[in-house]
């Protein structure tokens, strides 16, 4: 079977984009396996995800570079990935370990096309189990006073290891605008969500006091604006008066695991495009 490429394109809508892209692939001997388009009429932006088998015998890396040049030439922001390539991923975690285990076990079972290259934590709690998983663990404590230094250390590590994605698996520190900007690559985060929303501490307690009948979780790309980044995926679960705060927390953990796991999978399969603080997810 021929190697495959996945391209994500976005840019100002113009006539003939589908035709140009599919024409290029056809003329270069490729065969489209999946293609999905979207057009935001209001914003005037066009999005495309196209997956194709390259011409037999050709070098996928070369074709990817050629396609990248082509994408640029038609004014589309273009990203090309080669199937089989495994980007390096870092997991940031604090003490809550449900998302942490879930991500690593999914990865070990072959669910994620990536390499989990390292763990970063502001606590030492998960060092032992990380060793068991065979993943390097970097304990970088963070206090208000040391935060800038800690982030510099994190950034150096990410750079040195060539990390392409950071997953905040219930990492209980806010990443600064400087960190996000310097890293310059995607950071996926998970937070709980409620109807109505609750500000401040102990949200599950607040939700319980308010008598909500649904709790939720939202996976999003981290931006300097806390929990306000582009939404990737959201899930909810029903709760009743029979549920204690502990039940809500437990149900919330289930939601956080599933929602983050799905968002990470879509990202790694190059299914997500971001624009205007929202996402197109070609699931």
């Amino acid at each position: 079977m021929s190697p495959q490429l996945v391209a994500l394109l976005s840019g100002p809508d113009q006539k003939g984009l589908v035709s140009k892209v599919s024409g290029w692939i056809f003329n270069n001997g490729g065969n489209i396996i999946h293609a999905d388009q979207h057009r935001d009429a209001q914003a005037g932006v066009f999005f495309q995800r196209v997956e194709w088998a390259v011409k037999e015998g050709s070098d996928p890396r070369e074709t990817a570079a050629d396609f990248q040049a082509f994408g640029d030439s038609i004014g589309m922001k273009t990203k090309v990935a080669i199937s089989g390539d495994k980007p390096k991923v870092a997991i940031f975690v604090s003490k809550f370990d449900h998302c942490f285990h879930d991500l690593i076990l999914r990865w070990k079972s072959g669910e994620y096309p990536c390499e989990i290259a390292l763990i970063v934590s502001n606590h030492q709690d998960l060092e032992g189990v990380s060793n068991t998983y065979g993943i390097p663990y970097h304990y970088i404590p963070v206090t208000k006073a040391t935060k800038a230094d800690a982030e510099a250390e994190q950034l150096a590590l990410l750079k040195k290891e060539g990390i392409e994605l950071v997953i905040m698996a219930r990492y209980m520190q806010v990443l600064s605008a400087i960190f996000l900007d310097t890293f310059g690559k995607p950071v996926i985060n998970i937070h709980h969500s409620f109807l109505p929303a609750f500000a401040g501490a102990k949200p599950y307690h607040q939700a319980h006091s308010r008598g909500v009948k649904l709790i939720g979780a939202t996976a999003h790309y981290a931006t300097p604006d806390l929990d306000q980044g582009p939404i990737i995926h959201q899930s909810v679960a029903h709760v009743t008066h029979r549920n204690s705060v502990e039940d809500l927390v437990r149900k919330g953990r289930n939601l956080e695991k599933l929602t983050l796991a799905q968002a990470v999978g879509w990202h790694l399969e190059n299914r997500i495009l971001v624009y205007e603080n929202k996402t197109v997810v070609f699931d």
Copy 2:
């Protein structure tokens, strides 16, 4: 088969409440069919719903009165309903008619133990179809200047007809604190809900701009604090980038219909207790 009673009790938690209530029923020849209890340990409040068949040959109305007195005597707020009794209900509606039709068709199909006695609307649009349904329609226009008078007219009507429940089926006027207080009986309302929440006008447009992946609806008891009353039921539906604002509105209508219909059903079956701005729903 013997007539049945349903009682809802709530009050300060005390030892032996279940025993006292079930003992009273047993000693009066009744047979418990369903019973459900709940205890809010934090608030120190106890809740009970009990449904029983009265002693053969006895008068259910008399037994209900006796139980009411018993409930009072043990310091519990008590409400007793006789199975087969059909409380009178008023539907308030403006122009959006999806909840309106849905409620009436469910009622006509036998789903609701009540009598839909009248429609109140600030528009004339649904007068014709209300006549077809055979339900009296009261057109009471509301402007800022006439609101107080209009509410007085509504209240007089509700009183005259002995209405026990008002359902706001997308009635686009806020009922004043004076109205709610004077009516003194439950008013069920429905509103859309989003994660995150959006204030202000055109919420579906805002949700679409924000790129939410879920939309929701919340049924609640109306209080002077707009849309902040005790939550009865909540539902959500997934949305994607493929969905237009119109799709969101359409999905929202589905949610509003189902969520309001369920809340009304639970209320009419005497399954809901309210305390501290939240509900216990014995579904």
Copy 3:
């Protein structure tokens, strides 16, 4: 704004299909608004749905005919619809009226791009309300002895009125293979579904006896093989030991309404392709 076309294509997978189709549209001055592709690698079949604005000033009917010829020329089964065209639809119904009202009210609210041209029923129960809705009602009783004649009468009616789609809104008669074959156009049906499945009569009673925790509904295209046709959409609801058979039936009605309504919407928006007894739904 230019008139729009929607085309559904399917056929043996071949290199360059996306390119050919989008190239044709581009070369004919059209602008693709949405496009979705799917390829069943196992079956070797390619599917496409493409929605485009025709060249300004051109006749959409002519462009549709041209595209139809083009689709044929590249060996793809092709169907083209002109946006704004409203196919004629017939609703078949017996006595259960929940899907019947739901479909008509959605249609009246503008949700469906079609004309509900007539009602066919083997009972007279819904004649009055059909008149209220302003839709011609055809009472065609069916007994074992008269079934062939009744179907002939139905077929004559559908032909005379130019019906493009039949919706079985809980029509409790099986349409014969001869009927389906002679009509030759799609028929959408709804049936309840359970985990595990139950054969025979009174399925809700069986499901209740078996203690299922989920009930479901499946919308599908009718085929001679009862309830075994291509699945369009499926939904489920949770049930508990607290639910009586009546509760299951009521929840089942909700599911039937929503599931059928969604399937009909997708069909009318030309989002469904059928092959090998299954569907591709470009939602």
Copy 4:
């Protein structure tokens, strides 16, 4: 805080049961925290779950024995558990490890009031990680020829260790009627479920071929009748034509994990009563 008891009672319906049970608890100085009743009118069976704090200073084990005797005296099948007691549990597993890890991690996070005392497997694959978890691993290979001996070995082990519950975490062997009968305690199993159902091998392939739009999982108590035991919990997920067989398998794994995890939790909290091949779940 006083020690707590949980009792599950079931038996022929009779007048005054709630009164008798709550009266006993009251008279013995106990305080009911939660109580839930259910009555299957058709089967004439009454069910109760009651959770109470025993009289201050009294011995919960003694009170439990007294209540057991009381339950017997009123003709109810009675089971009493002391809060804080942790029954011993065995996990049976083959090679698929998603449910295995999920259960153990939930247990380690404090979600389950039990002791996972041992693992039984017909393969050696998970021995290493079981050691990491600190749980004894018993490799007992099973072939057609050795099945009887292997089950005897398993039974001896379960007896020796005082196991109260076996969880089949995707254990790919059928437990014989003799095994189930000799063990005499609950065995929880998980299986995938589809609408419609598929018999035979490779069910996900069959479901994919059939074009189903939903896949499901069912947790149940194992009986000699394969996958036909009392249903505890069921869940589903939507699938589309975009999903490959691998996607279905992956979604199926998520469902299996969550559904089994919930069923095990309810069982360990003494929330489940079984009768006539179905369950009452007091969630």
